[in-house]
Amino acid sequence: MSRKMTGAKMIVEALKDQGVDTVFGYPGGAVLPIYDEIFQQNDIKHILVRHEQGAVHMAEGYARSTGKPGVVLVTSGPGATNAVTGLTDALLDSIPLIVLSGQVPTFLVGTDGFQEADTVGITRPCTKHNWLVKDTEKLAQTIHQAFHVATTGRPGPVLVDIPKDVQFAEAEYVGPKQIPASPYQPKKKGDLDAITQLVELMERAERPIFYTGGGVINSGPAASQLLREIVDATGFPITSTLMGLGAYPASGKNWLGMLGMHGMYEANLAMHGCDLMIAVGARFDDRITGRVADFSPGSIKVQIDIDPSSINKVIHVDLPIQADVGHVLEDMLKIWKSRGRKTNSAAVQKWWAQIEQWKATNCLAYTNSDTIIKPQHALQRLEALTKDRDRYIATEVGQHQMWAAQFLHFEDPNRWMTSGGLGTMGYGLPASVGVQVAHPDALVINVAGDASWLMNMQEMGTAVQFRAPVKQFILNNERLGMVRQWQQLLHGERYSQSWSDSLPDFVKLAEAFGCKGRQVSDPAELDDAIREMIEYDGPFILDVLVEKHENCFPMIPSGKPHNEMLLSPEAGAFTGGGALV
């Protein structure tokens, strides 16, 4: 059977063959042939966004919550440039995306044609790889290749730029199985000698710690399962980056909480004082390490990562294992068991006693109030009232994001969508829509700040149109809270441009979008307001007026080492180190 068809039809065919059920996009001149094909089929659902940046963040939310790649369709020129922030976000957080962009016809390329941009040039540094397809014969093959590259090895976003005449022209369609194997095949299995050495280190370690990251979640649910098994069997403490929350359950007995700039006191001090650090799918970001020269000075560092460029990039590691996290954890568990499940349990017990001492500091302590809602309290109530549900959390970027990471507890992977590497304000609302599209019956909440939320608020229209009942939980302090906090602590209390003047009335805004809103400022009404938000059958904006000058603690000021954390005045006096109280 000849499968000759237009390039536009080929694109839809290729997406179907790749198992795509949802595309987030926005039409325009250079993608009209593709939109014409989308109109004539029912297998792929198209979510019409309000801005292309929203489309990419939605695809990220979709991808993070399902483990499948997200697919985006945008037009040439401004359509593609609007996607750049989302692409960069996905690159830094290793999220698999396939962005298809229209381009002016090949005979206009290079002439500064209408809505022409050098999309491949612009997106080269913010994609894992990209392609400009000049020939319809190569189109289907390139799209299949794009899925392979996006999802293989360390995942990431890719872009395929498709000129309009390539969409109109006809050629033979090839399916994913008919194309030659891609030369891009990163290795998955870890070196067994190195893994055995790691096991030897684990058997001897006196103060071990697992430091895990987004790589565990990217590796798939099996990796999280293996991690749980190995952590519980060895009894070693475990901390995680912002990106890795949920890989090990927050209710697990070995859980120390998140580490890093706003991480838990006990987690950071344990990282500082450990003698064996096992980094699993984590990349020693500057928000994790603090001052590099003073990072965990006395430890042997082992790093498991699929990306060789992540190893030894920031911190020199003593034992690198380049491989897929899941494969290594499996081998590690097998070898450790076969050697008799040994640990230096007496020493590890002592280590735990030390950690318990640090825990007693109660680093998340804050003074609650009867008259004003404290943001920490709002999140504690949100946690209490939603933890038993099938719950997905997205966040924007700032203080609320850190409080959410501290006060919401994740029991499973793929339940936490946040912009970690790039720190993109405006990520959360569209991401929550993407999650909800993938999980129509789940409770999807975007924990937001007022300033971040405004950055992509147009996507409420998308939520309403597609009946995505996302809950927008806005901690409204009428400030750019994290900026204000840094100005207070590090810039002599000069609050330059960090307040939100002329904020909209979020309740009226909700009504204007055709959904429901409520404002709450009395702590006594908070539970009721959260319940109304959860129970409402549709998108909901809850405008929580919170304390305006609350600071997010603990905090390691940038450039300081782990043992020089700032603690809130409420946290207990510290015993046993040089931290600033």
């Binding site: 000698d193 060789p308 460029s309 003593d318 380049q322």
Partner: protein
Amino acid sequence: MVLNIKQGASSHSAYDLRDPNAQIEERHTLAVLVENEPGVLARVIGLFSGRGYNIDSLTVAETDHEGHRSRITIVTRGTPSVIEQIKAQLGRIVPVHDVHDLTAEGPSVERELGLFKVGGTGEHRVEALRIAEIFRANVVDSTLKSFVFEITGTPEKLDAFADLMRPLGLSDQARTGVAALARGA
């Protein structure tokens, strides 16, 4: 706790455990074998500019027409950890098939071709020709007032030639950058 790692235990070339804290800059010649597709050179150069690495010289040409392969030879400079990171980052580029560190992997030969225009008359002209002969440079263009010399050799040899020609009227030079191959089979 003492870590007992045998060298090369994890058989990846990027991880030879040199002193990570060495701050001495090294000069390395890298051979990068790439798929000859549009934009591949831009990806490699963009990596160097985007991450702040140095390029001393760069050459690129197709080396296998049938196999669509090109060879990019880059001479770069950095501390050992920066060199390792450059290699790992290059290896991460999708159309890059292989990265060889010719400086670290054993003996290699390096050659560069240079064209040097030297103007002058009388004794200077004779002296220029004499030196060219010592360096085995060829005259590829001649007028009554100038020569263009073609010379092949290591970058150091070309530097030495240029230094000698400068007082004799060196007015222009064009150099290809380094091409390099590992020695032996």
